[in-house]
Each structure stands twice: as C-alpha cells, then as structure tokens.
Amino acid sequence: MVEVHFDSWLREFGPPARETVGAESIDQLLDTLEERYPRFRFKVRDEAGSLRRYVRVFVDGEDVSRTSGLSTPLTGARTIHILHSIAGG
C-alpha cells in the first residue's frame, strides 16, 4: 500500500489530500483512483493514456514523470505525490 498525496488543484476532481492505495505501478494506481473518483479520469492522463504535460508524479520524493513514468513499479514505495507542475504565465 502507498500513501498518495494530492495538491489542492487535483482535489477539485474528488480525491482527499491523501489516500491509501494498493497498486503495483503508477498506471495501476491511477486506474484505481479513476474508478474511485470518476471526475479524476483524463485529468492526470489524457485519453491516449499518457501523463499530461504539466502534471508531475513523485515516488518517495523522486520525480518519475519524465523517466520511468507511468510504468514505474511501486514495489517497496511508501509515498506518492501527484502535483501540477510549474507552468503558465
């Protein structure tokens, strides 16, 4: 089980500030969250299944958004942060 932390913008789509989820990968974790919170669907991943450009995912403090990405295994992981990235203007 991992503890998932959401920022305030993502909480507008349903999740609380933190949630405990059992999952083997980020993709699987997002599948579970989308089932629990239907409005969360397509907000973090687009309809092609890709992580949206301005969303970042951290596994135990390490940003995996542009490295192992959604297939990152969660074996042994404890904390996930899903945050909007620095963007805009």
Partner: protein, 378 residues
C-alpha cells in the same frame, strides 16, 4: 420587454469566463465574479432554446479540456461530458508525419466552439475541436458522438494546422433546416452538409490562397470566421486569411468585398439578426495582426448598397488592438448592439448599431471570445 430582463455579454478569456449583465437599454453593466479562473476559455455561448443555459469550452493547460455548463446564467458551472478521441485500447495508431515510422498518441488538444442545434432539435449541441474534429451531442452535453465524415475525412492527412492549431472553429446551422450545416476549419476552409453531417461539400470557390502556390484549390483556404445573415440564411459573410468575402448562394461561390479597404485581413465578423444585409468586420494589419491605423475601428458592410462604412472616429480609442476570431458579437435587439473584445482585454460596445461607442469600465485578461445571451420574454 421589461427592464429586468437580462442581456448578458459572455466573455471567454485567457484566464477564465466572465459574464457581464445589463439590460435592453445597454447603458450600465455589471461584471460577475470570474469562473474557471486561470483557464483558457476559447468560447462561451448561450443556448437560446433553454434560457439561462450557458456552455463554455474550457482548456485547462494542466488537466486538459472540458465542456462546462451553467444552468443559471453563469452563477455556477459544472463539468458535463467532454468528447474524446477513441481511448488507447480502441484506437488505431497514428503515425508521426515528420517521422513516419513512429506511432504517436493522438488526443484532443483544445475545444474551440460550441454551437446549440436547431430549435426543432432542442437537445442537440455541436462542438468543434483541435485537431480538426467535429462532435454532436444528442443530450445537451451528456454524451458526444464523433462526426466521422469530418473526423476521419480521407483528405485529412493533408490538412495542416494554422498558427492557432488545427481548429474547427465555425459551426453554423441553417435556421430553416436542421440538416443543413456549415463548418469552418483553419487552413482547410469551409464545408456544407445537406444531410446532418453525413457528407460534406467543400465551399471555398472564389477565396484567395496567397499563402499557397496553387491559385484555386478546392480546400486549403484559411477561413478565420464566418457569420450567417439570419434574415437571409443563404447569405454568409466570411473573414478569411485571404480577405473579406460574401456569398449569396449557401457558400457555393464567394465574392471578395474587402478589396476597397486595401489590407482586408482580420479574424472576426458578425451579422446582427435585426439588421439584414449588415456585417461587421474588424480590419487588422495582415502583418502586425493589430488595428493598423493606430486606433480601434469597426467596418460595416452594407450588402444592399455594397458600400463600406467606418463606425468609429479615429479619436475615440487610439492604439493598436488585436481581435481574435470569436472576438465580435451582436445582440438581437433593434437597433443591434455590437460588442468587441480585444487581445489586451478591452471590451468595446455600441448599443445602437455603431452610432455611439463605449468601453466597459473593467480590464479583462486577453479576450478570446465574445457572445451574447439575449433577453427573453418570460
């Protein structure tokens, strides 16, 4: 018409949705608190079949596009269904045109235009999106059906995006026939359907393509926006990259009318229901993409006399102003009100067909779209 009936100016901006309330006198206005704050809102529109219903095309750079609806004139908004391309498990791979051996995921980039359907189809909505996509909802946004005659058009591989993207930005429904539809796509041109979108005919004859080597291609024209003359729905006014045009035969042939103006570039055009044969264009410098003469100006086309008329004194609002494709609107009152939003956040308006002009005492973010929710009799 009673004084308490609201006339609403619906403003889509780079940073959210604004609803401006006034009444038929069109003298005083109240700006409601922003909705969708921080989001790109490309279009906001009222559904005249359901008074009080508004729709917004909200493009959140972080969490993607959504269709939002208000059922109370903009006081509160709620996300309804958003059309999607087929999800990854159901779709064929698209190939990258730059590197054809590479498969790329394809998603909806931005939502551009929401059009309520014909009054005889009170639950129908149309939606235009990037990349060159058209959808229809049979249930006021509860679900969306792709219109594959456009979305899977055999020539689509040759359709390139314009600077604003591959946007399908204009959707018009013939007020006499719900099956007759017109659409406009950037860098592709206009099309007409006589069978509710089952098939489409390109309608770009007579429109110049100064940016292409071919002189009279069937498609490839960069239409910026088209307005229908609701008093004579066979007549259309077109602002194209290649100038200003009129058609009197359901877009079968276009006649350039902007040539007397010199540079007849621009993005926006509107035609008021209460003034048949009139169209309002905001002429911009084709090079600078702002009003080129050093002041804000609206050009009125009189289709009966075939004459142009400037509606503002050069001294009224000096400066260089940009106006985007959805940046001008007219109301349905008589005389018509004209409303123009700029890329620097000014909202200019005339309550009397251009005789006098004012500027709303409110600084908006960059304005993408202006439309009107007209007063209705209760």
């Amino acid at each position: 018409m009673t004084k308490d009936q609201k006339l609403r100016i619906l403003v889509g901006t780079r940073k959210g949705t604004y609803v401006v309330e006034g009444n038929a006198r069109r003298k005083t206005w109240q700006v409601a608190p922003v909705a969708h704050a921080g989001n790109e809102v490309y279009h906001v529109v009222a559904d005249p079949r359901h008074p009080g219903d508004l729709y917004a095309a909200v493009n959140d750079i972080f969490f993607g596009p959504t269709v939002q609806r208000s059922r109370n004139g903009g006081k509160t908004w709620k996300e309804v269904a958003t059309p999607l391309l087929p999800e990854r498990k159901a779709r064929k791979f698209e190939m990258d045109p730059v590197n054809p051996s590479t498969a790329v995921p394809r998603v909806i980039n931005n939502l551009w235009h929401i059009e309520p359907g014909h009054p005889s189809e009170p639950d129908t909505l149309y939606l235009g999106a990037d990349p060159h996509l058209l959808f229809r909802s049979p249930d006021l946004g509860g679900s969306w059906e792709p219109i594959d005659s456009i979305n899977q058009h055999p020539a689509k591989k040759d359709w390139a995006p314009g600077f604003g993207g591959a946007c399908l930005h204009t959707i018009l429904v013939d007020p006499r026939d719900p099956r007759r539809l017109y659409i406009g796509l950037s860098a592709v041109g206009t099309f007409r359907s006589e069978d509710a979108g089952a098939s489409w005919t390109p309608t770009n004859r007579g429109v110049l393509t100064p940016f292409l080597p071919e002189k009279n291609p069937e498609t490839g024209q960069c239409v910026h926006h088209v307005a229908i003359d609701t008093a004579d729905p066979d007549t259309f006014y077109r602002q194209d990259h290649g100038g200003m045009y009129v058609s009197h035969d359901r877009m079968a042939r276009w006649t350039r009318i902007g040539k007397p103006l010199g540079d007849d570039f621009g993005f926006a055009v509107a035609s008021p229901p209460s003034a048949p044969g009139r169209a309002y264009f905001v002429r911009l410098s084709g090079r600078a993409r702002v009003t080129g003469e050093g002041h804000f100006q609206v050009q009125e086309w009189n289709d009966e006399t075939r004459q142009w008329r400037k509606l503002l004194s050069p001294k009224a609002f000096p400066g260089h102003f940009g106006v985007q494709r959805e940046g001008i609107a007219t109301d349905a009152l008589d005389p018509p009100g004209i409303y123009v939003g700029t890329t620097t956040g000014q909202l200019f308006f005339s309550p009397n067909a251009g005789k006098t002009w004012g500027k709303l005492p409110f600084q908006f973010p960059a304005i993408h779209s202006v439309s009107i929710s007209n007063p209705t009799r209760s």
